[in-house]
């Protein structure tokens, strides 16, 4: 069984995003970039499926600028077998990425496609669901547990107020939530090994996908700042303030 994992290169989880002073976007110059944390969980899950003998090959795919190769190498160091970079300097919005991934899915014919539930830059939470719809596949989003057997994926997913479990026919699309697993650290020997693993590069044109952005960003602003309040000396003062000033009691 072949598994495809889609990964995105985003601002590092620990870096605070800063709005550019001209209001056109986020300043990413000289900012540390990493694999989207949810995608890391997706790679880990795929590698575990391979280690368990359920998957035979793990293919990682990324869409974006040439530097996404680094993100793909990280995935290869985690244990993926080969990588595909869909190289483009355009701003790639979720619908475009879903179309690109659909083209890859048609070529590679995987039984399972894993993606992070959302990217921590645009926070869209769309690509997996869009891919599933375009490819006519069933989906389980926000997965916290995944079991693959007998041509089906049994997925527990996190929903408001609890969890639910679905059974999907394969091929299927699964998007990962935080609790699915804890990704491994990549080791130096594995980083060295990853350098020798195959990486293909294709262009959107070759996949026949029009990636023109559909949403125009007019401006990007700092959110309304919440000013820090006061430190109260004791609990009694706190209760008085909550009653009198804030009127929430």
């Amino acid at each position: 069984m072949r598994v495809i994992v889609a990964v995105k290169r985003v601002i590092d989880y620990n870096v605070k995003a800063r709005v550019k002073s001209d209001g056109t976007g986020i300043d990413l110059a000289n900012v540390k970039m990493s694999m989207n944390p949810f995608d890391e969980i997706a790679v880990e899950e795929a590698v575990r499926l391979k280690e368990a003998g359920v998957a035979t090959e793990v293919v990682v795919v990324s869409a974006g600028v040439a530097q996404c190769q680094e993100t793909l190498r990280t995935a290869l160091a985690m244990g993926a077998d080969r990588a595909i970079l869909i190289e483009s300097n355009e701003e790639l919005q979720p619908l475009a990425v879903a179309k690109l991934l659909k083209a890859v899915v048609e070529r590679e014919q995987p039984q399972l496609i894993l993606l992070g539930k959302q990217a921590i830059d645009d926070d869209s939470n769309q690509t997996g669901q869009m891919l599933a719809a375009l490819a006519g596949l069933p989906q389980a989003t926000f997965a916290s547990k995944l079991v693959v057997s007998d041509g089906r994926a049994i997925v527990s997913r996190e929903v408001d107020g609890g969890a639910e479990t679905l059974s999907l026919t394969l091929p299927a699309v699964v998007t990962t939530d935080l609790r699915l697993n804890e990704p491994r650290y990549v080791t130096l020997p594995n980083i060295m090994k990853a350098k020798k693993k195959p990486m293909d590069t294709v262009k959107p044109e070759v996949l026949n996908v029009d990636v023109t952005p559909r949403l125009k960003t007019l401006k990007v602003q700092e959110p309304a700042k919440r000013s820090a309040g006061v430190i109260v000396p004791d609990v009694k003062t706190l209760v008085e303030k909550l009653k009198g000033e804030a009127k929430v009691l």
Binding site: K16, A17, V19, I26, F38, Q93, P94, L95, A98, D121, D123, S124, N125, Q126, Q129, M130, A132, A133, L134, L137, P138, Q139, F142, S144, I154, E158, V159, D160, G161, A163, E164, T165, L166, L168, A172, D177, L178, R179, R214, L215, K216, T217, L218, V220, E222, R226, A228, G229, V230, I231, V232, D234, V235, K236, V239, L242, K243, A246, V248, L249
Partner: protein, 315 residues
């Protein structure tokens, strides 16, 4: 053209996030003069449809009722919504687990961009949405003929729920896609308000040290305030409480009247989930904790003495 709002429900009662989504629809209709229709997709969901007719501003309620729609499977909801989609200029979903699951499938099939998690309407094509965990607000313009939108409920007030007088029409249902099957649901039992709808939230972090301490310290406070219980990701990862307690960028986005953060340092991703709360109280023994930068009232002291004292002093 008309605006369609997808109703979130459990086949018996209407979920409150639907009301905030209707308010977002009403904000769009100021520019378009459109009617607002509500779509209820479910099974034996007549009661939900009847409740939906009472929402202010809604002129028509459409009910798609069939056994294979009972559990909100995205593949099945997709077909039924797509049958109607061409009649609408805007299709809105609450940005809940349900809405986030289904909306992108509709957008992709219509070949339009989705606008996720909007918090403001500038005009019928232009919307504000938080990005980068709420560290920036993007104003985006859609050029597509149909706008598929998810609405962050903390960005809009709830629509009134006593007016209305909309009609109910049963509509055709798309066939079962048969590619996914619902097996079970485990609902976390709560004898408290649900986190996303609560007006008071008491939230705990790693500072509590254990699940036992979390319950011992925070439950009396939540009881006294009639509040819901929440947690930071650190507390969830440490196993103090179940996953669905998590408030933050990747958990629940909340905006209660009062948010009490206990033993929470205030990581960026937690602040993203609660900084729109009306009043924030933080209790932390570390005066440098980032949570104090957003708190209206801070107590720099040991939470194990502060919280019980607070409970005893509350009316």
């Amino acid at each position: 053209m008309t605006i369609l709002v997808l109703t979130e429900h459990d086949n018996a009662t209407l979920n409150g996030a639907t009301l905030n989504t209707v308010t977002a629809a009403a904000a769009i209709s100021i520019f378009t003069g459109s009617e607002i229709h509500l779509l209820v997709v479910g099974h034996n969901a007549q009661a939900v449809a009847e409740a939906a007719t009472k929402i202010a501003g809604v002129s028509r309620v459409l009910l798609a009722d069939a056994p294979h729609l009972s559990d909100g499977l995205a593949e099945n909801v997709e077909g039924t919504v797509l049958n109607l989609a061409k009649n609408y200029s805007h299709i809105l979903f609450p940005a809940t687990a349900y809405g986030k699951n289904v909306a992108p499938r509709i957008a992709a099939k219509l070949d339009v961009a989705q606008i996720s998690d909007i918090t403001a309407v500038d005009d019928s094509n232009t919307f504000a949405r938080p990005i980068y965990a709420g560290n920036a607000i993007a104003t985006v313009q859609s050029t597509d003929t149909i706008k598929v939108i998810t609405v962050r409920s903390t960005g809009f007030d709830a629509a009134a729920f006593d007016a209305g007088g909309a009609t109910i029409d049963r509509i055709d249902v798309a066939p079962d896609a048969k590619t996914s099957q619902f097996l079970s649901r485990e609902v976390t039992k709560l004898n408290r308000p649900e986190l996303t709808g609560a007006s008071v939230i008491v939230s705990g972090g790693r500072g509590l040290g254990s699940g036992e301490n979390y319950r011992k310290v925070l439950e009396p406070l939540a009881d006294k305030l009639g509040g819901a219980l929440g947690a930071s990701r650190a507390a969830v990862d440490a196993g103090f409480v179940p996953n669905d307690y998590q408030v933050g960028q990747t958990g629940k986005i909340v905006a209660p009247r009062l948010y009490v953060a206990v033993g929470i340092s205030g990581a960026i991703q937690h602040l993203a989930g609660m900084k729109d709360s009306k009043v924030i109280v933080a209790v932390n023994k570390d005066p440098e904790a980032p949570i104090f930068s957003v708190a209206d009232y801070g107590v720099v002291n040991d939470l194990f003495t502060t919280v019980p004292e607070l409970v005893s002093l509350l009316p």
